[in-house]
């Protein structure tokens, strides 16, 4: 059985709870074991790296150090923002022994770097697991047009997140969608920023960026936007009403997580996968694939 240390992060227990639910359900169905990091803390997100360099490294380093107590060699963080903070720790502390010691002096358990960060989408999109998924598809998503939306922080900057996919036109999620029978559309907003980090401080601009993404997806013929980051997802889903009001449009565009769609195709119950948790009603999309 493949095992990974699993860092849900704050979002997967709150705003992105359906990402956590579907991740657990799908992993179980595929025989992947996700071992939650014990007593994990918040990674600090943008607030920490805007405030202090050392803080922005020490918070995620504590989590990575705790992951080293688990019988695993790799850790996954489904949230792109958390993933980016872990990537920063690996990159910076891996190159600077003095900085590593400074960070470790603040931690009860030192970070050694023995548990490596793995791109979350890749634990499903790697060739072996993908063919496993293909074999286990019970309910093909044929006819469903999906706009795969990767957001910024899983793929940028490639040198630091250390991922081989194309940062301008990534394919990992597209490949998963094809394996499920769905049709990933071609569109240019795959990795454009949704402005989630400005949601509180510069809301108007955040709304504009969301509108650009939603409009482009609709105009490209998508039935839904598939998300991989809980911050992007919450922004496009929960804020969609605000966007529609401000721009006088109606999108009603469902924003499921890619793990929810894998689950659907594997024949899992939409409720277990957290579909009722989505703000924009996914029923039109579910009907299209014959599960509602």
């Amino acid at each position: 059985m493949t095992k990974y240390a699993y860092y849900p992060g704050c979002s997967l227990e709150t705003g992105g709870i359906e990402y956590g639910m579907s991740s657990q359900a799908v992993a179980k169905a595929l025989g992947i074991e996700l071992l939650e990091v014990p007593d994990w803390n918040c990674c600090g997100a943008s607030s920490a790296h805007m405030t202090d360099h050392l803080l922005s490294l020490a918070l995620p380093a504590r989590i990575l150090a705790l992951a080293e107590t688990l019988p695993v060699t790799e850790i996954v963080a489904p949230c792109a923002a958390c993933h980016a903070r872990f990537a920063a720790v690996e990159y910076e502390l891996g190159r600077d022994e003095e900085l590593k010691q400074k960070v470790n002096s603040l931690l009860e358990r030192p970070y050694t770097g023995k548990v490596k960060l793995r791109y979350y989408i890749d634990i499903f999109s790697n060739p072996e697991t993908l063919s496993e998924i293909e074999k286990k598809v019970k309910k093909s998503l044929k006819g469903l047009k999906v706009a795969c939306y990767y957001g910024c922080l899983f793929v940028k900057p490639p040198k630091i997140v250390n991922f081989v996919d194309d940062p301008e036109d990534p394919q990992a999620m597209d490949n998963i969608m094809r394996a499920l029978g769905a049709e990933p559309i071609q569109w240019p907003y795959k990795t454009e920023c949704c402005g989630a980090s400005l949601g509180v401080t510069l809301e108007d601009h955040c709304t504009k960026l969301c509108n650009d993404i939603l409009r482009f997806a609709r105009d490209s013929g998508a039935d839904c936007i598939v998300a991989a980051c809980p911050l992007c997802q919450a922004n496009l889903d929960m804020r969609q009403v605000t966007v529609e009001k401000k721009y006088g449009v109606s999108y009603r565009m469902p924003i499921p997580f890619f793990t929810q769609l894998i689950g659907l195709a594997l024949g899992l119950d939409p409720k277990t996968l957290g579909f009722p948790k989505l703000f924009v009603d996914p029923v039109s999309m579910l009907k299209k694939v014959g599960v509602a």
Binding site: C10, E13, T14, G15, I17, D39, W40, N41, C42, G44, A45, S46, S47, A48, H49, M50, T51, D52, H53, L54, L55, A58, L59, R62, A84, L106, L107, E108, C152, L153, K156, P157, P158, I160, P167, E168, T191, E192, C193, G195, A196, S197, L198, V200, T201, L202, H205, L209, M238, P276, K277, F279
Partner: protein
Amino acid sequence: MGEVNLSQVMDRNQSFVDRVIEESGQDIRQCYQCAKCSGGCPGSSEMDYPPNQIIRMLMLGMKEEVLNSRTIWVCMGCNTCTTRCIRDIQVAAVMDTLRQEAVRAGYVDKAQTVLNFNDSFLWTVRTFGRLFEPGMAMLNNLKTGNYMKDMQFGLPLMLKGKASMFPHRIKGRREMKKIFDNVQGGK
């Protein structure tokens, strides 16, 4: 921007420029102003100076203008500039350093909303170990005096089971306190 005597500001602010290079780990002197960073920047329409100009101003030692700019607080850290920079400069990392420098040097006029948010966010992390969104929102609204901000999201989030009334407290709170006590702006 008024008239600036470049040789004077350069003399005066060389140590600042050196510190930004050192702290960010980015050699901004490699920039040859292709402006790809600004072309792809999702925040540039809201900025007073696009990212390439900030880098150029930095090279010229224009500390006050850079630290007083709106740009550094609009940057979302999406790393599009860093990804596309043909001179291998992590522009977003430079923006992080500039924000930290701005706070240290007291240039906070344009930053108050961001700083309030960051302080509220980090207060919950320092106290509980994890982000506690309702607490963060309340604290932020108290700081800004905008008491009803984002309250329209509160009830729907509760109804969907996406927000908890009470924070989760991790066991390692003492360790969290130690981390925060030993960094800048952690208090």
